[in-house]
């Protein structure tokens, strides 16, 4: 499609046609349709989570040998006594009107409230980790790309090879032992009071989450930067006497930032998953710990709610990234 629109662009110039508006809206419409249909599929998938699991969910909640009456009432409570499409309509209705997946079986609170209570910490952690990952990656990638085949470059390139097989929890443990217990630079876990305390206590978990992503980010950013560095326009700018520093900051970084952003959009799901595990290691009461306690309590509405909110956030983020990258890139920028 891109190739075609490129020829299209040239054609427009040649013919002087200004039929630009429609296609520029078309991508947005297409992206919206895509995002909405993915969200719909996500809702369907979440709806079916409780139903694909082998066995009767009521029995799973109540135990295999619960009395028939108890199972009956749990069926009713979960709406399992209705025909499947009606269940789905109810599920969607509930989702639309209350924004949640029902009431927690164990805690008796709406899943939305529970998730909303825990979300800020997790979101902050994800944001910190992403920011950290981006900053460190850009610095490392710049160093590596500008010193291609140097010692630093080699070290940075070895990084992913070594860290790929490091389980995230293991990294977290090592960091806790060295940086918190031994050196006492960071709190061991938990979440501090106030914004400052929160930021401080989430530093180490954020480093851990970021750690898992920096190597891959650096790897592709470096490739990207090398490509840009060796591209014709950088040579042109150099030939035209622009200082290297200026080229690097004004042109190379800007051109590499776009793919980095897209990469982060692709990785956001993985990042959230890592965050859930890391929360466990650091004893952070976020979405992750809510998920784990819900799992041990077989509290299906919470599990569904978390799955739903995670997936929808991932989708929203990738949608935003798509829009942002379109906006930042004049080649694909539409006239909105």
């Amino acid at each position: 499609m891109i190739k075609l629109s490129a020829t299209g662009g040239r054609f427009k110039k040649l013919s002087g046609l200004s039929a630009k508006i429609a296609p520029s809206h078309r991508w947005l419409v297409r992206a919206l349709i895509r995002a909405v249909s993915v969200v719909f599929c996500v809702v369907v998938a979440v709806f079916f989570i409780i139903r694909i699991v082998p066995g009767d969910p009521a029995k799973m909640i109540l135990g295999q040998y619960a009395t028939p009456q108890a199972i009956e009432s749990m069926h009713h409570r979960l709406g399992l006594d209705l025909p499947i499409w009606e269940q789905f309509i109810r599920f969607v209705q509930n989702l639309v009107t209350h924004g949640d997946t029902g009431t927690s079986i164990v805690l008796g609170t709406s899943t939305r409230t529970l998730i909303a209570e825990r979300a800020p910490v997790t979101l902050l952690l994800i944001a910190m980790a992403s920011l950290l990952a981006i900053i460190v990656s850009i610095v490392l990638a710049t160093v590596a790309a500008t010193h291609k085949n140097g010692v630093l470059d080699h070290l940075i390139r070895i990084l992913p090879t070594v860290t790929l097989g490091m389980p995230i929890f293991w990294v977290g443990l090592l960091l806790i032992i060295f940086l918190s217990v031994r050196l006492r630079w960071f709190p061991v876990g938990g979440v501090g009071q106030g914004l400052g305390g929160m930021l401080y206590s989430l530093m180490l978990p954020a480093i851990t989450v970021a750690f898992a992503h920096i190597p891959t980010l650096v790897r592709s950013l470096r490739t990207q930067m090398l490509e840009v560095l060796e591209s014709d326009f950088v040579v042109t700018l150099k030939a035209a006497g622009i200082p290297n520093r200026v080229i690097l900051v004004k042109h190379v970084l800007r051109n590499s930032a776009l793919p980095a952003l897209m990469l982060l959009g692709v990785n956001i799901s993985y990042l959230i998953g890592g965050t859930l595990v890391v929360e466990q290691v650091f004893g952070i009461e976020g979405i992750g710990s809510l998920l784990f306690s819900a799992i041990s309590n077989r509290d299906f509405p919470i599990i569904q709610g978390i799955a739903l909110y995670c997936a929808i956030s991932v989708e929203i983020i990738s949608f935003l990234v798509e829009i942002a990258s379109r906006f930042l890139d004049p080649r694909t920028k539409g006239e909105l």
Binding site: G63, V188, G283, S289, S293, S296, N297
Partner: protein, 524 residues
């Protein structure tokens, strides 16, 4: 150490049975009885005490929601008439005095002077009568077993309870978590509402409470023990993961942790800033047999397996000196235990093989061992038992399932063998015995379905016999029968372990796992 089933992980025994087997904090001992004596130094007042716990407090309903995660918070708000101390001795608590009639049917309690609820209102005998009456109505997991005829407030200060028939454990029973005193008629609000904002006589008042997270108490300024508690604030911080909890303790982010795995106790002891408080416990780790099972209905099979297990060795390996090998059912901290005198089936592989030869399965068989996932000690114990079974030809497959389904499974007698624990609710031998031997009880001899008329008879006799040598004899006989017929193999009695910062003074650890904070001081 599963992060997943962090839910009450440290106490798998309690965890599995938490609905049933808990006890209330009490103990008449003041700060002078505390394990770490501050000496004559001045009391250090103020400060916030942070207590790391593996599970959140989900409810303050002392009748229906008595699980260990809730109970250890409920006992900070509600207090009973009588309570036990760290040695398990019953004494007066909210009652100034109590007396029992000769026939064992009438119990009279006189309340302390100047008792106030945390909202400032006075405590009267009416409140006490209401609280116990309500428990009789609500029942709940720790329902009163005594046959109560009447509960009357004789005057403002005096409460009289009459039983239909003598019941020796009654006083101990009253010391339960679930018999704390609360305002008459819940102070005029509905029961549900009341337990959302609980008002009691305890040393602490709920300030901020997240049913899935942390809980903050502030001190009760109307507390009847003048000047106490010394600390201003008590925070129950949710730390689901054990190693995380230990690390936080080491780093000084919490003052104490409730959940301390046995294997880490020595590590904390050796560490400069931390220490370990222990208390002989009321709990016992056991291997349970489903006596309805094809193989384990055969007493020889059960005996053979008991003989194949080296209890002292496994205790030593698994508990690092923080437990005693178990011979009898009753833990040593409970009166009438016969751990030293009983004739138990001690480790002897040859005898085990001979015993198995007498059974219907002389050449061994395959069976399943059900355990709750998420506890490393249990998992290791299971592997040791697996190995022991192998030596006499019994192939044991370990089935590790998470806590909720584990409970479902054994509640339905859907297991062959399982590892589980027993814990006394109150310091009376009857507590464990009734739960583990009464085939008519809720648990049907702890889901073993073990039935022996002699045992049942002895159990009922013991409940009616007043304390003394006669009762001791009954319980000795009972324990010996159990040791011979092995419906369950007692393995070891684990200590209650609480990890603390060295700066913490005056913390009282009770044998039921709860901790008293009213005399706690945080020194520099």
């Amino acid at each position: 150490m599963s992060k997943v089933s962090a839910f009450l992980r440290k106490k798998p025994l309690i965890a599995s049975l938490m609905i049933l087997l808990l006890v209330l904090t009490a103990g008449c001992s003041g700060s002078n009885n505390a394990s770490q004596n501050t000496g004559k130094n001045q009391v250090v007042k103020g400060g916030t005490f942070v207590y790391g716990r593996p599970a959140p407090v989900t409810s303050f309903d002392e009748y229906s929601e008595i699980t260990s995660n809730n109970a250890f918070a409920i006992d900070k708000v509600f207090e009973p008439l009588v309570a036990f101390n760290k040695d398990g001795k019953i004494g007066n608590w909210l009652a100034k005095s109590h007396s029992i009639s000769k026939d064992g049917l009438t119990y009279t309690f006189v309340l302390r002077d100047g008792l106030k609820f945390s909202n400032g209102t006075d405590v009267t005998a009416k409140d006490a009568a209401f609280s116990i009456q309500q428990h009789l109505i609500d029942k709940g997991p720790l329902a009163i077993s005594a046959q109560v005829a009447s509960i009357k407030a004789k005057d403002n200060k005096t409460l009289v309870i009459t039983l239909k028939e003598p019941y020796t454990p009654f006083l101990s029973e009253l010391a339960n978590f679930s018999n704390g005193i609360l305002p008459n008629n819940f102070g005029g609000v509905s029961e549900k509402q009341f337990f959302k904002k609980p008002i009691g006589t305890g040393p602490f008042v709920v300030q901020k409470w997240d049913p899935a997270g942390d809980l903050t108490f502030v001190k009760n300024k109307y507390y009847w023990q003048k000047g106490k508690p010394y600390i201003d604030k008590l925070v129950y911080k949710l730390i689901e993961d054990d190693s995380q909890a230990i690390n936080q303790l080491k780093a000084g982010e919490v003052n104490a942790i409730e959940s301390l795995p046995l294997e880490n106790a020595n590590e904390l002891k050796q560490n400069a800033g931390t220490g370990v408080l222990t208390s002989g416990s009321w709990s016992i780790e056991q291997l349970f047999f489903n006596t309805l099972d094809k193989h384990f209905s055969d007493v020889h099979v059960r005996r053979a397996l008991a003989l194949a297990i080296d209890r002292p060795a496994l205790t030593k390996a698994l508990t690092f000196g923080y437990a005693e090998p178990a011979n009898s059912l009753l833990p040593p901290a409970i009166l009438y235990n016969t751990n030293k005198t009983i004739k138990a089936l001690n480790f002897d592989t040859n005898a085990a093989k001979k015993e198995l030869a007498k059974s219907a399965y002389p050449h061994g068989f395959s069976t399943n061992l059900l355990i709750a996932s998420g506890n490393s000690t249990t998992a290791h114990l299971a592997q040791i038992l697996q190995q022991a079974g192998k030596t006499i030809g019994i192939n044991i497959n370990i089935e590790s399932i998470e806590l909720a389904s584990f409970r479902d499974r054994f509640f339905a007698y859907n297991f062959s063998t399982m590892i589980n624990g027993g814990q006394a609710d109150y310091p009376d031998a009857d507590s464990i015995l009734a739960f583990q031997t009464d085939p008519k009880g809720f648990s049907k001899s702890y889901w073993t379905h073990y039935t022996n008329n002699n045992v049942t008879k002895l159990l009922y006799e013991g409940q009616k016999t007043p304390d003394g040598p006669a009762r001791a004899k009954i319980y000795a006989n009972l324990q010996q029968i159990l040791a011979d017929e092995v419906p369950y193999i007692p393995l070891y009695y684990p200590d209650v372990l609480i990890g603390v910062r060295s700066s913490v003074k005056g913390l009282v650890v009770l044998p039921n796992g709860s901790v008293r904070f009213d005399s706690v001081q945080i020194t520099k």
